[in-house]
């Protein structure tokens, strides 16, 4: 074991300097006295070098794709190209206000328009909006579009139900709830949608069936055309969760599979950096039925000019500030322009090749549920570890000690003690073999070592139960705890 993460004894930023009792800022002319801040903001005053050292040290206690393979399934942690970072910082990209006149932002509108054209080809759906901030934001907006469509058809009263498979990402049922639908889970059979169960579930109440394909078990839903037929015959819409698009570029697309509306995550398939959990960038793509409901504005080309078009009477309106995450859209455009036809086709072929190779090798150590042929990700079950008195969680922590990031764990829940593994197309065979060797060392290590992991990181195993049981959520809470004023806050009853 040669990996060691940096372990700085770095204080919190407020402990870098003695923070004195804040004094009120000088009054601003015109501001009424009662709205004047009486006590200034309590925060340290530090030198620039102190600030830079502090955050540099913190950065060194963080895994990133640039430091290690990041095998989180359904997260598609591919290389974030440096050229995209450079381009997004150009003044012609970064120093643009969304409210500046269209005439002065023709280049930005052109980038958006061009990326949208590419995404219509990739999704096989004729209209695209880039307004969504992230995948789940796109899911919610798409369901609002479905809602608006059924309202126009006077069917909303009865079409209240969103169906989804038990393998669905958690965002799917949560988005459905936020959009005002009830949800109903369809059970899986051998890791895929049970067509008979779906047939039995659809009805005149069905508004939508949400599906990701390949699904979170890493399996392609081969019955997809039959699924589309069943949903459409019931009068429902078919929704494509594009989290797993990295498996199918140039192979198939939501349009061909019969989907009516889709979201994509540019921070997965199109390599925009996810920044520690965000920013993301969502894409909404719609077929002809739902396209009139896409958020405004839409980017249009009139003659040689690009414009923002607000004249869409059926549109659901706005879903966020401005048009979308342009800085990320630009990076995604650079990714698409670099790859082109051959490159995009190669992305999914290599991602699936990597995944099947990893699956065949890692499957020697833990059982793989369902069929052997997988797409961009695959599942393992850590259930046999229980006989040794260890769990999937211990294995994940032990993998961190190898200097590689663990797979997604305990999702999807239809597999006991599951691990969901994905290393996308940017990982070389050497890196895959390195990961497999790390996995072998971890899974064959002694139960004691597994339970004691991690030991090579900036901290040891973290007590997450304590974090939830005694919430300390800010410096203010830490000060209160230090002052031993530990009266629990009153809990407001939830109606």
């Amino acid at each position: 074991m040669t990996f060691r993460q940096a372990r700085w004894d770095e204080p919190d930023v407020w402990d870098l300097a003695a923070v004195s009792e804040p004094v009120a800022p000088p009054p601003v002319p015109g501001i009424p006295e009662r709205l004047r801040r009486k006590a200034g903001v309590r925060w340290p005053e530090l030198a620039e070098l102190e600030v830079v050292r502090h955050y540099t040290r913190l950065s060194q206690m963080n895994f990133g794709i640039d430091t290690a393979p990041y095998a989180l399934g359904s997260c598609t942690m591919k290389y974030n190209p440096k050229v995209s970072e450079m381009l997004a910082r150009r003044p012609g990209a970064a120093s643009l206000h969304p409210q500046q006149p269209e005439e002065s932002a023709q280049g930005a509108l052109e980038i958006l328009w061009r990326l949208e054209r590419i995404l219509t080809k990739v999704t096989g759906l004729p209209e695209v909006s880039l307004q969504a901030a992230a995948g789940a934001h796109g899911e919610w907006a798409a369901l609002l579009m479905v809602r608006a469509y059924f309202r126009d058809r006077n069917e909303l009263e009865r079409r209240t139900e969103v169906l989804l498979p038990d393998t669905a990402h958690g965002t799917n049922p949560a988005s459905a709830m936020m959009a005002g639908f009830t949800t109903r889970e369809i059970r899986s059979k051998d890791g895929c949608v049970d067509l008979a169960a779906l047939r039995a579930a659809v009805s005149e109440r069905t508004a939508c069936f949400m599906l990701t394909n390949p699904n979170t078990a890493g399996l392609f839903e081969s019955n997809i055309l039959e699924i589309a037929e069943v949903v459409h015959q019931a009068g429902g819409m078919l929704y494509y969760d594009g989290a797993n698009l990295n498996a199918i570029l140039g192979i198939t697309h939501p349009g061909r599979m019969g989907f009516d509306v889709a979201h994509l995550n540019l921070h997965k398939t199109f390599a925009t950096p996810h920044g520690g959990g965000g920013p993301g960038a969502g894409v909404l793509a719609a077929g002809e039925t739902l396209a009139p409901y896409l958020p405004v504005p839409r980017v249009v080309k009139v003659g040689r000019k690009f414009r923002l078009d607000y004249d869409r009477p059926k549109s659901i309106g706005k879903i966020k500030t401005a048009y979308g995450n342009f800085g990320l859209d630009l990076r995604a455009y650079a990714f698409a322009l670099t790859h082109g036809e051959e490159g995009l086709n190669h992305v999914s072929r290599r991602a699936v090749l990597n995944s099947n190779y990893l699956a065949s090798k890692m499957g020697a150590f833990l059982p793989r549920p369902f069929r052997a042929l997988v797409k961009h990700e695959f599942l393992l079950s850590g259930a046999p570890l229980k006989a040794k008195g260890v769990r999937t969680l211990d294995l994940a922590k032990r993998l961190l000690d190898e200097g590689v990031h663990a797979p997604t764990v305990y999702f999807p829940s239809l597999v006991e003690e599951s691990l969901m593994v994905e290393l996308p197309e940017t990982e070389s065979k050497r890196e895959l073999d390195h990961y497999i060797a790390a996995f072998e060392r971890a899974v064959t290590d002694s139960p004691g070592n597994l339970r004691a992991a991690p030991r090579s990181l900036s901290v040891g195993r973290i007590d997450e139960v304590r974090a939830a049981r005694e919430p300390r959520l800010s410096w203010k809470d830490l000060r209160a705890a230090a002052a031993k004023v530990e009266t629990p806050p009153p809990v407001r009853p939830t109606p």
Partner: protein, 460 residues
């Protein structure tokens, strides 16, 4: 083929050999033939140099803010950000990481987020902040749903002066659960909330929350916000606050806010044509289990040393699915990093000085524009900190702003809803001074505004 996909001679063959197959196509036999597609039709790829050349050529069709005298503002600004902010955001240990699902490997980002939460708590005077949401408008939308979780009712009050874009986003958040937005009118002279109207709405019943923005949609600071909690009683109050203004304005927690949201873009994040941005959210400790989004908590590791992890996750979609408090799965961690680094570099005194200096420039701007014939500037008689509303007595805002643009002036943000079915509204523009606004630019604006309006007068 891009260098980003490994392509060592023999590499792919070795992978195929290990699987006992001869072609990658054999890995796609599970995709039915009828579902297969032909070519995408996206054109050929390019090498890096050519990609840079092509994108730079397109970007050259933009005129960046620096090529104008810039009076755009409101929620999104183009305030200067110290280079050290981007240097930290550019640490690839941060920007190439994912959500810290394995906290032991991700203490760096977790600690950044804990500091960020702490800073928003200090600025707002609230108890708890989450680890950020998409942007200010969606944070307000999440706040609306949050209010419904902690209070009964179907009606949510918003100021009629709120920006149309934010109203539209809020209407979408309200629409799923069948809630309604109701606009509270404002005083025509001051733009201030009509508190009697709030009283009447509350007395009519069924109100589950109210949002007020500081400064408001007209740019003004309305001291009436401090009276709202007294009127609302147990009904939750959401304050949407500009973070920089909180360096000099009373913390909303001190006048009874139950939720404080905001747009954090002005703290170290480039406007980038509107994204990525930063949504801020804080609430009271008693309500934290109803809060949306990720929250980082302090705890200990097995050795008893301080450590940090995502916590209270039973609120979230990956655990609670359809009963989650929100569908949100992405926060804006990297932008939260920019926010906290910016504020720490500038420091609390520096923030207050910056806000005071911008306010002073905006007063100079208002007095210069106040003398322009055909322009009522400011339109409302109320204090401001950087932005205020002007109203045109003739011509349209679109024409006025276009004439200014031709003189290399970005004259402000038109306040009308641009959707054709939105109905007609007065020709109002939100005009903002910034940290870089000079007296010369202000004089230039006043002269250009006068000649633009004179031209409208002639053509009318």
């Amino acid at each position: 083929m891009p260098r980003w996909i490994p392509n060592e001679p023999g590499e792919e063959a070795a992978l195929l050999d290990a699987l006992g197959i001869s072609s990658v196509e054999q890995l796609f036999t599970d995709v039915p033939k009828r579902a297969r597609i032909g070519r995408l039709g996206v054109g050929a790829g390019h090498d890096e140099a050519e990609v840079v050349r092509q994108i730079d050529k397109i970007l050259a069709r933009n005129k960046p803010l620096g090529s104008f005298a810039n009076f755009l503002g409101g929620r999104l600004t183009s305030r200067y950000s110290p280079a050290a902010v981007d240097a930290m955001v550019g640490r690839s240990e941060f920007y190439t990481s994912y959500t810290p699902y394995q906290p032991e490997a991700s203490q760096g980002m977790l600690r950044v987020l804990f500091e960020f939460q702490s800073l928003w708590v200090e600025l707002t005077g609230m108890d708890v902040a989450n680890a950020s949401l998409y942007d200010g408008a969606t944070a307000a939308g999440e706040a609306l749903l949050f209010c419904r979780r902690i209070h009964e009712g179907r009606r949510f009050l918003v100021p009629a002066s709120l920006a149309w874009e934010e109203k539209s986003v809020l209407a979408n958040y309200a629409s799923g659960p069948g809630l309604t937005l109701e606009e509270v009118p404002f005083d025509d002279r001051t733009g201030r909330l009509d508190l009697d109207a709030v009283r009447k709405s509350v007395a009519a019943g069924d109100v589950f929350g109210m949002l007020a923005d500081v400064p408001n949609g007209f740019g003004h600071v309305d001291e009436g916000v401090a009276d709202l909690k007294g009127i609302l009683g147990t009904i939750p109050l959401v304050v949407s606050a500009d973070p920089l203004s909180l360096s000099v304005l009373e913390a909303p927690g001190a006048y009874g806010a139950d939720v404080v949201v905001g747009e954090g873009q002005g703290f170290g994040i480039s406007p980038s044509f509107g994204g990525p941005l930063l949504g801020l959210f804080a609430c009271r400790a008693a309500d934290v289990r109803s809060a949306p989004g990720r929250i980082v908590g302090a705890t200990r590791d097995v050795n008893g040393l301080p450590a940090f992890a995502l916590t209270l996750q039973t609120r979230e979609q990956h655990i609670r699915r359809s009963r989650a408090t929100s569908n949100i799965c992405t926060n804006q961690s990297l932008m939260a990093l920019a926010f906290v680094v910016y504020a720490t570099l500038v420091g609390p005194r520096g923030l207050a000085e910056l806000q005071a200096s911008i306010a002073e420039r905006s007063r100079t701007l208002a007095s210069a524009l106040g003398g322009v014939d055909g322009l009522q500037a400011p339109r409302f008689d109320a204090p401001y900190l950087g932005s205020f509303t002007v109203e045109l007595k003739r011509g349209t805002a679109a024409e006025f702003l276009d004439r200014l643009r031709r003189k290399k002036i970005l004259g402000g943000v038109p306040l009308a809803d641009p959707r054709p079915n939105a109905g007609s509204t007065p020709e109002r523009v939100l005009v903002s001074a910034g940290d870089a606004t000079t007296d010369r630019e202000i004089q230039k604006y006043a002269r250009a505004a006068a000649s633009a309006l004179a031209a409208v007068g002639r053509s009318a």
